[in-house]
Symmetry: C2
């Protein structure tokens, strides 16, 4: 089933840049003290919580599951901030012109191939 954006999401949009800057403003003071390795530990904890929510979806509301995705994104943005990596630029460079494997906007790589 193709992804269907939630109609309840309204019209508010957020660019990857805006998100990264929001997280930077919110947490940069702590991020610098924690460094990349310390921050990576937090990312892993959130990845674990996402795994738990995905594995046991009957006991998690859709909103709870969504919040786990948001947390993983936030910690990934935090690490990108500390590493001075521009996520939006990174995504546009790697995926903006098509699948990195075959170059097509709808991937035509063989099924045995990544990804």
């Amino acid at each position: 089933m193709p992804f269907e954006p939630s109609p309840a999401a309204g019209e508010e949009q957020m660019t990857l840049r805006d998100f990264q800057v929001l997280i930077d403003r919110m947490y940069s003071r702590k991020d610098e003290a924690r460094g990349i390795e310390g921050t990576f530990m937090w990312l892993m904890e959130e990845v674990g919580e996402l795994a738990a929510a995905l594995r046991d979806r009957e006991r998690h509301s859709h909103a709870d599951l969504a919040a786990e995705f948001a947390d993983v994104l936030a910690w990934l943005a935090t690490i990108a901030n500390v590493a001075q990596v521009d996520l939006q630029q990174a995504v546009l460079a790697k995926y903006g012109d098509g699948c990195p494997g075959c170059g097509e906007m709808v991937c035509a790589c063989g099924d045995e191939e990544k990804p």
Copy 2:
């Protein structure tokens, strides 16, 4: 050091919604066959590659490091697609009005507290 968006990124912007839809269009055919568990394995592989690039930054160019972030984001979006989670809505709901802990746009939670 606060995050400095790359000037080389130019003016092209991408919303979280656009990114999720792009990845859905590019890979949804394969994603459905792989399912959430199979896709999570790919996410973990990419998280490992990101860890390697972060740990050994001297042997990775900044572009290579950025590409590893892009891959993690792409697999996270893929899982969100399969789970029908709207990443943009998730992020706005959790972080759009401030730190989930203290409610401030610049986090004022105590240092001993998450996050």
